[in-house]
């Protein structure tokens, strides 16, 4: 195999370039973050399942920035065995890795009349096991390199188990706990782990949602909040900010009341 690295503009002391990886980049918050980070000077590797969307996004970004700033990799996060190999390829292509954003996620709200086992399993496989497949090797790499930043897009949905969508709630609760475990393991090695808990964000996923979706914000607004939290190396954020207080109340509703609510 001949060595062929895609040519990206070099990082120099006066033109430093942070190198980022977004897993689940083709639409929604992933795509909005890709646009935002490139504007902030990053070079990026974008990983997504849907090749057409991914390539269109890459072309658009490279065209607007007048130079090659993003590389695309088609990959389904449930092909777990591919992750460690693809990670090495990406780190070589980018010339390093500073930040990883795991934003791959699916939501299959159950039809109350049917059994949702397939949907539940897929949500866990993508949202949670997919995160393990990628972030386990990344954690090892960052721990060894004594630096880096991991951003996981969880959800307010993971804060409580609710009536409507047990699979999604569970996948996001699991992701939140997994990120916390990574944080506790990696902070001492100089690695920052940021858990993002968005409320409702106007993405394709929201269109499929059942029931009311109050206070929905555009994906660009969420990306802005996330970028600011990344710069400040925060541990956890809600976006928009007031969900923090809303969820504080919701988390503290006693079970004796919560289990009687339709919410």
């Amino acid at each position: 195999m001949s060595v062929q690295k895609p040519f990206l503009p070099p990082a120099t002391p006066l033109k430093p370039r942070l190198r980022g990886l977004i897993i689940g980049a083709s639409s929604g918050m992933g795509a909005a973050l890709a646009h935002r980070l490139v504007r902030e000077g990053y070079t990026l590797a974008l990983v997504a399942r849907r090749a057409d969307l991914l390539n269109a996004l890459c072309d658009e970004i490279n065209k607007t920035s007048n130079e090659r700033r993003v590389l695309s990799y088609v990959h389904d996060v449930t092909n777990y065995d591919e992750a460690p190999t693809l990670l090495r390829r990406i780190v070589s292509d980018l010339g390093g890795l500073d930040t990883v954003i795991f934003t791959a996620g699916v939501n299959y709200p159950p039809d109350p009349a049917k059994d949702n086992f397939d949907g539940d399993r897929q949500m866990l496989e993508v949202n949670l096991i997919g995160a393990f497949a990628w972030l386990n090797p990344i954690a090892e790499m960052f721990q060894s390199a004594k630096g880096g930043q991991i951003v996981g897009i969880s959800s307010v949905a993971g804060d409580r188990g609710r009536v409507g969508n047990a699979g999604y709630n569970t996948s996001k609760a699991g992701l939140t706990t997994y990120l916390e475990a990574l944080r506790n393991r990696l902070t001492r090695h100089g690695v920052n782990v940021l858990t993002v808990k968005p409320g409702f964000v106007k993405t394709d996923m929201l269109k499929a949602a059942v029931g009311p979706t109050p206070f929905a914000i555009p994906a660009e607004k969420a990306a802005d909040d996330i970028y600011k939290a990344m710069r400040a190396r925060k541990q956890q954020i809600y976006t928009p900010w007031f969900w923090r207080w809303l969820m504080f109340i919701i988390r503290n509703i006693p079970s004796v009341i919560f289990r009687r609510m339709d919410f």
């Binding site: 001949s2 060595v3 062929q4 990082a11 002391p13 006066l14 070589s92 390093g96 090892e140």
Partner: protein
């Protein structure tokens, strides 16, 4: 990809010497040519590139290879053979200049060419083809290499000398480790008749006087170097101090036995016998701004006004950069960069006047300027000219990056228009366009042809190589 052979736990974050770049890589520490060969195989199989790293003292990205493999050669640090009768030494590439001079000096020998720091390795010195304060007289280090062995990415082992495989000899020395990895180096050392040098120190009032002194007086000395106060402007632009030194001849040193002792060559760890130098860089940081440096430079210039002559040990004269340990940390978290230009003697004064003025106009004076006298050499990727070099250190901050980058691009244009050249071990912003202009298309074509022959799969690549040659 062979994930078992490339464990993520081998991932190490590496930096340049100026702490202004960071790039993680799989670090392998080979102990022999065979082990280097194995790493080449592994790299080829996995589609990764390889870069050699010695002591990591390069100011830029010469020993970085982000996301690829870095061969840390510090374990290949044996002096294989030393003959004090002839002054010939054969050593592995990871041997540092410190190791080398400390082994040979007590027996009356000194490396013919050394850098401003003794922590560099021989492999790195040859890859960059370093020069010293005697470049006008002794040429670069490559001119003192009698022979070297190297392993190529094809697995072939080659031996080169100025007579045997001469083309490869003159290309691998100066070749930035992009053609092969040195496995042993044979060099001729220089005879000493004293542990001391006789040094003349004198002030120069402006750039014209400065360059005239270097030009006219170099032939009378063995070493010559100028300190340039880059903060001075107006009629004092380019002022500074010249240090010029001569070897002592046989019989000149009455205390020969004593001055040759290693302990009289060692840099003192404390100032005034009490103040540990290891913490000195903390006390320098508060002065690392425009005003503080102006004050320090002005004070230093005033102190340099009386002409004087003194005798100084070789180590103290040469390794000025090692005098304050970790001095580069005083530049703060974003580090420093060095910009060195080599300009023919006819054009240097005009070019540097323009550059120094520009740096004042932009409010970004260099905090340390050093001048030297040079002559051309035969090596393929040579940085030398019949003229002078000016090295300038700049502090990097978050707020000056864009401004500094623009200014250095203007510097590049001034230097190129003056027929100047650049040194790959120093500048960190040189572009492929600048490289093509000063090396010339013909030289680059020659280098690429050799690269194709020695490294057909382009396994040897550093961040520096990709930056200045635009990749393979």
């Amino acid at each position: 990809m062979d994930t078992a052979m490339l464990p993520l736990s081998k991932f190490t974050s590496l930096e340049n010497f100026g702490h202004s770049l960071r790039a993680p890589a799989y670090v392998f520490k080979p102990a022999s040519a065979d082990e280097i060969s194995e790493v080449f195989q592994l790299a080829k199989k996995n589609g990764l590139t390889v870069t050699a790293r010695g002591a990591g003292r390069s100011y830029n990205d010469a020993s970085l290879n982000g996301g690829g493999i870095v061969l840390d050669l510090s374990a290949m640090n044996k002096i294989i053979n030393w003959d004090p009768a002839t002054g010939q030494v054969r050593a592995e590439p990871g041997v540092t200049l410190q190791q080398l001079w400390q082994s040979i000096e007590p027996e009356g020998w000194w490396p013919p060419v050394v850098s401003g720091t003794m922590f560099t390795t021989l492999g790195g010195c040859l890859g960059a083809n370093i020069h010293g304060k005697n470049n006008f007289k002794m040429g670069p280090i490559g001119e003192h290499v009698l022979e070297f062995s190297a392993i190529l990415p094809t697995g072939a082992e080659v031996t080169c000398s100025p007579k045997k495989n001469a083309v490869l000899f003159y290309a691998m020395i100066s070749g930035l480790g992009m053609l092969g990895i040195f496995t042993s180096i044979t060099m001729q050392m220089k005879r000493l008749h004293s542990g001391l040098l006789e040094v003349d120190a004198r002030p120069v009032r402006n750039l014209h006087e400065h360059l005239t002194d270097l030009l006219d007086n170099a032939p009378n000395y063995d070493y010559i170097v100028g300190w340039l106060d880059a903060t001075a402007s107006g009629r004092s632009l380019g002022r500074g101090q010249i240090h010029a030194a001569r070897y002592l001849h046989e019989g000149d040193d009455p205390e020969l036995q004593k001055t040759m002792l290693l302990k009289n060559q060692v840099l003192p760890p404390r100032i005034f016998g009490v103040f540990p130098k290891s913490i000195l860089h903390y006390f320098m940081s508060p002065f690392m701004n425009n005003l503080g440096t102006w004050g320090v430079n002005t004070g230093k210039y005033i102190a340099s006004l009386p002409r004087h002559t003194f005798r100084e040990s070789h180590a103290a004269f040469h390794f000025l950069l090692d005098y304050v340990p970790n001095w580069e940390l005083s530049y703060g978290g974003d580090g420093l960069i060095q910009y060195q230009s080599f300009v023919p003697k006819e054009n240097a004064e005009a070019a540097w006047t323009e550059m120094l003025r520009l740096s004042h106009k932009r409010g970004m004076p260099s905090y340390l300027g050093v001048t030297k006298r040079h002559r051309p050499d035969k090596f393929l990727l040579s940085h030398a000219v019949d003229g002078f070099s000016l090295a300038m250190d700049f502090k990097v901050t978050n707020s000056n990056r864009a401004k500094l980058s623009t200014m250095l691009q203007e510097f590049d244009r001034i230097v190129l228009d003056a027929g100047g050249r650049f040194y790959f071990a120093k500048n960190s912003e040189t572009t492929p366009e600048t490289t093509a202009r000063f090396l010339g298309e013909e030289t680059i074509a020659k280098f690429r042809k050799l690269k194709k022959r020695c490294d057909p799969h382009s396994i040897l690549e550093s961040d520096l190589y990709r930056r200045v040659f635009g990749g393979s």
